[in-house]
């Protein structure tokens, strides 16, 4: 996918967090977390990208960087060819920063905290409309809101808008949040763990709703999850891609059938193992050598996964594997993808 027809594209972005020092903090040693480490990606029109990975691997940070809510430490993000952060600071950008702002929206994980508890639903929904459609009449705005609310199944809308967030269930709140982001007619919506807080029985419905609206509104989704089966549901239903993150890097990316069906990276394989299926026996032997994730401020050398990798060899300790193409838009950051790599001659470092 070239960046011409992509809505969003990031090129070699990194985000670093350094614990900040106060006036008297000059003595403290600084710790740096590379939450996102040199990632390049493109999101096209009507695209769905699903990010998965363990907690703290940088999914949210990458997502926020993509929608321009987090300034990258290095690298660039462009929205329809316009560099987002240049648009913010520069003069006369082709697309104004506020236009970009509107086009990239977010749905948070926790529906409970995504709405101001002191505002009625109507107020929360009116505000963005007021900001972005100042010419619209009040009635007009309400009409839009009601229509959307009813579209997501919150009927009667007149009743719902008069409630406060705590008077709604988690699923209802999440729908309101979805409506709020859709009101702005965005190009990309970042759904950061948007369904994790919902009861299992409601997740499928919510995911269906989101995908349905994607068709309707022509939006792209960046869908973050730590649950492979949910990710797979979304990705498969929308025909989108899935990207597996590990310690700030995308270690495997590709169409769902390939990543899930034929995972190349040992980490993806471990994730797959960790996602049990209702039916069918699975192997109980741990496919990783260490259960715990390494300290993100002090990441392992070479391939970051090597201390946990059951297939690690000596070369993995010293060399950082780049992205290897496994065909059909499927890539993995593992030497094993390359049949000719020196990896195969390197001694194993797995003891048992």
């Amino acid at each position: 996918m070239s960046s011409d027809d992509s809505v969003l594209s990031v090129d070699d972005v990194s985000v670093k967090f350094t614990n900040s020092g106060g006036l008297l903090d000059m003595f403290g040693e600084k710790e740096t977390v590379r939450a996102v480490d040199g990632i390049s990606l493109d999101i096209g029109e009507n695209d769905v990208l699903t990010l998965i990975g363990e907690s703290g691997c940088g999914k949210s940070t990458l997502g926020k960087t993509l929608i321009g809510a987090q300034k990258p430490t290095s690298g660039s993000i462009t929205y329809r060819g316009q560099d987002i952060w240049e648009a913010k600071n520069g003069k006369n950008p082709a697309i104004s920063f506020s236009e970009i702002r509107r086009s990239l929206q977010i749905i948070h994980q926790d529906p409970g905290s995504a709405l101001n508890p002191n505002q009625r639903i109507l107020t929360s929904l009116m505000l963005p409309l007021k900001k972005w459609n100042p010419n619209l009449g009040n009635e007009e705005r309400k009409k839009r809101i009601y229509a959307l609310l009813e579209r997501v199944g919150l009927t009667p809308a007149e009743d719902f808008v008069q409630r406060f967030p705590h008077q709604l269930s988690g699923g209802e709140k999440q729908r309101v949040v979805l409506v709020r982001s859709l009101l702005l007619n965005p190009d990309v919506i970042l759904a950061d763990e948007a369904i994790s807080a919902l009861d299992v029985s409601l997740r499928v419905e919510m995911m269906d709703l989101m995908l349905e609206l994607q068709d309707l509104f022509d939006t792209s989704y960046i869908f973050i999850s730590h649950d492979l089966s949910n990710a797979r549901y979304i990705a498969e239903k929308s025909g989108g891609r899935i990207a597996v993150m590990y310690l700030g890097r995308i270690v495997e990316v590709g169409p769902i059938e390939q990543v899930i069906g034929d995972p190349q990276h040992p980490y993806t394989q471990a994730l797959k193992w960790a996602t049990p299926n209702l039916y069918g026996e699975e192997d109980d032997d741990l496919p990783i050598r260490k259960i715990d994730i390494p300290d993100p401020t002090n990441r392992p050398s070479g391939c970051h996964f090597h201390p946990r990798c059951p297939k690690a060899r000596e070369v993995c300790q010293r060399e950082d594997p780049g992205q290897f193409d496994a065909g059909d838009g499927h890539g993995a950051r593992c030497f094993r993808v390359d049949d000719t790599h020196e990896y195969w001659d390197s001694p194993s470092i797995v003891d048992d």
Partner: protein, 340 residues
């Protein structure tokens, strides 16, 4: 989803912002302001007995300071027999002092000054704290933040009472507003820290981030998303600050450190004490009456703050029941930091 607390009192109802925010006229805005600043707290007060009693006491003193001063003549020496005992005459139900001034009238005419002092002190310290706290919280991690917090920590560690004593000894303020301001000097840092941590935790709430991402202007976010959440803390602390200002001001008048020009409870105590009221039973009412007033008013303020605290906490709890379990513990730590 209806939870166990849904039938509890809802503060949210109080912040009803009206349906047509953009067509809001100035009179409606005024109405809303009254709603938020007067009626809402009043309704809160009614919902908890402590707040109710506290509010009633406060209202009583407010009436004393506003209507009372009109109804009861400003006492002058020789109004009545000197050192008359209480409950002898309706003209001086609490007795009189050595000047023959009715004690009840002195109490009443001392109230406006007291409230001016409280008002100035509370406004200054709470206002300052709120500004510092919000700015620091908003600029979290920046130089401004660390600068403000360093100042706050410095002021927090300077012992307040001695500092105030030194300052008032030097400037000899007579105007109650200025006295209040001086007394507010040592009061703000604790609250500023609380406000900052509140702002930090509110900023963590995703709806603030959502507002930012939706491009809502910062001022609007501040007002709608952050300040409204801070109101409870500010109000509770306002009540506690007021109590402190009463204690300190009366103490300084009592000791004769602050100069005085008009009636004041501390001054009454000072004159009575200096006049050896403790060894002269006929002077005791002169000494005890202001003590009772101080007790009542600060009792009222403490009750009010307690009542508000529990009300707001119920609300916070109610909210957290609905949100994820992870959050509850976070808000607990935030709550823990407030208190006198």
């Amino acid at each position: 989803m209806s939870d166990a607390h849904s039938d509890d009192f809802d503060l949210e109802d109080l912040y009803d912002e009206g349906i047509e925010p953009d067509t809001e006229s100035s009179s409606e805005r005024l109405k809303r302001a009254i709603e938020m600043n007067v009626l809402a707290p009043a309704r809160i007060a009614i919902a908890d007995w402590r707040a109710l009693v506290g509010g009633a006491i406060l209202a009583f003193f407010l009436l004393m300071g506003t209507v009372g001063v009109w109804l009861v003549k400003r006492p002058t020496s020789g109004d009545a027999p000197v050192l008359a005992a209480p409950f002898e005459s309706l003209a001086y139900p609490l007795g009189t002092d050595v000047f023959g001034q009715p004690i009840h009238a002195q109490l009443i005419h001392a109230t406006p000054g007291m409230f001016k002092m409280i008002f100035a002190g509370a406004v200054v310290s709470v206002g300052f704290a709120a500004i510092v706290g919000v700015v620091a919280g908003f600029e979290h991690g920046s130089r401004i933040d660390s600068f403000l917090m360093t100042i706050t920590d410095v002021v927090i560690t300077i012992p307040g009472l001695p500092l105030i004593i030194v300052i008032t000894a030097i400037f000899q303020p007579e105007n109650p507003y200025i006295v209040g301001v001086f007394l507010g000097i040592d009061n703000w840092p604790g609250l500023a820290r609380t406000v900052r941590s509140q702002v930090l935790s509110i900023r963590e709430e995703s709806y603030v981030e959502a507002s930012e991402i939706m491009g809502i202007p910062m001022t609007s976010i501040l007002r709608r998303d952050i300040l409204s959440q801070l109101m409870p803390y500010v109000m509770i602390n306002g009540a506690l600050t007021s109590r402190r200002i009463i204690f300190e001001s009366v103490g300084l008048y009592f000791l004769g450190i602050l100069p005085f020009t008009t009636f004041n409870w501390g001054v009454m105590m000072n004159l009575a004490y200096e006049g050896n009221a403790l060894t002269r039973p006929d002077m005791l009412p002169w000494m005890v009456a202001p003590m009772v007033c101080i007790f009542l008013l600060s009792f009222g303020l403490v009750l009010l703050s307690q009542g508000l605290d529990s009300l707001f906490n119920v609300r916070l709890r109610a909210r957290h029941v609905n949100s994820s379990k992870k959050r509850t513990s976070k808000s607990n730590t935030a709550n823990a930091s407030q208190g006198d």
